[in-house]
């Protein structure tokens, strides 16, 4: 039974279903879907909308040799193309969405935890786009992260454990969307570390007096 309480807004799922969502937000939506039965069902029905619209279009005749061309390409296909990624990084976890493990293991540079503060580690992953910085964050049990403002949109999915902010408690699979101007202070749950995946569009601003000390590490660095 799904216990996910926080979901992406419906327009994001629609854009995802139509294939119009940018890579980094798509990664977050996809990670959420792994945990969320409700959104998976919604997506299935959204795909039906796309498929109905596609099958209603006036068909266009294809070139007469197209079928033969497809068949000859099929005849040249290698037998099997299933290359499983072997788990190399201990950052990967079998309970994570496959795509997250692939990002961790398939990055050009192996992601490594970097300490941002006593309570917070970050590991950037390569996603081949430059609009968002995609990273894993680890909040220690009971950890306090700096209170921060969002200069740009940020999407977060909880992969493991839980954290809370002024608004709510976020557990495995929960999806958060922070708009520019939102201020919050995530706190790690007491009973264990919390790992999140996030995509951040622009640098966040720290609103605590000593926040500037961390600024250099929080600069956006898409890769």
């Amino acid at each position: 039974m799904s216990t996910v309480n926080h979901h992406p807004e419906s327009s994001m799922l629609v854009d995802f279903s139509a294939g119009n969502l940018a890579t980094a937000p798509s990664i977050c939506v996809s990670a959420h879907l792994h945990f969320c039965n409700q959104c998976r069902n919604e997506l299935l029905r959204l795909d039906q909308v796309g498929s109905n619209l596609m099958s209603e279009v006036e068909p266009t005749e294809v070139g007469e040799h197209l079928f033969d061309s497809v068949m000859s390409q099929i005849d040249q296909l290698p037998e099997s193309d299933t290359a499983e990624v072997s788990s190399t990084s201990d950052m990967a976890d079998s309970r994570y969405p496959l795509l997250v493990n692939k990002l961790i293991n398939g990055s050009e540079s192996v992601p490594k935890w970097r300490r941002l503060s006593r309570w917070l580690d970050v590991a950037q992953v390569t996603t081949g786009q430059n609009e968002y910085e995609v990273a894993l964050h680890k909040i220690c049990a009971g950890g306090k992260t700096p209170r921060h403002n969002h200069g740009g949109q940020e999407f977060t999915v909880v992969l493991k454990g839980s954290f809370s902010d002024e608004q709510a408690v976020y557990k495995e699979g929960d999806f958060l969307s922070c708009q520019p101007g939102d201020v919050h202070q995530p706190l790690g749950a007491q009973n264990g570390e919390c790992i999140c995946l996030s995509a951040l569009a622009a640098p966040i601003e720290l609103s605590s007096p000593f926040g500037f000390l961390m600024k250099p590490w929080l600069r956006i660095n898409p890769m």
Partner: protein, 217 residues
Amino acid sequence: MLGFTIKLVDENEEPSKKTVLLSTEKRSDQWSMLLVSVAETRDRRAFSQLFTHFAPLLKSFAQASRHEGWFPGLSEDLVQEVMIKVWQKSASYNPEKASATTWIYTVARNCRIDMLRRKSNTQHLPLENEDFWHEADEETPVSLMRQKRSEDKVQSCLARLPKEQDEILRKVYLEGKSHAEASNELGLPLGTVKSRVRLALQKMQILVAPEFRDEIL
């Protein structure tokens, strides 16, 4: 009864004679059965029937794209890529979860993104597009009845949507515009675009009104 028969003929792109007599359910299952047959016995005849039906639809779908960097010359490339994927991935098709048409739509959508990404991106992306739609193993399929019911609901509601809702859905799904792009293009506030889509989805019972969401699901 007459109305019903005409509707069937109308919707049916296949010129075949017998299909007119088949029930709607059988007819839509026809593609699914062919696809299963491709998966199980590598049935080339079945594949050729799927090709005859879907390739022209896929070509139109490709031509509808208004993505930046997309041009009509790519349309047949997309058709080929999709049909090859259909052959390759047919084993992962689960008829209990979706109709063949819906499954092929998802393959087409993914191929379209892949082609756009290959064109615009030189950087390394450790993911293939299908990874984004990878399903959890423990997935419990929706019952065939429920899936069928929801497909019918979507189909009949789509046909009766007010013009302004239909227009946006087409922009989003066929032209490939995001909500934000559609709002720019139509000169409408983003909120209006989102609420029109939401209304359409509620009619199709895809989206449960937020206040009922928790009770129903």
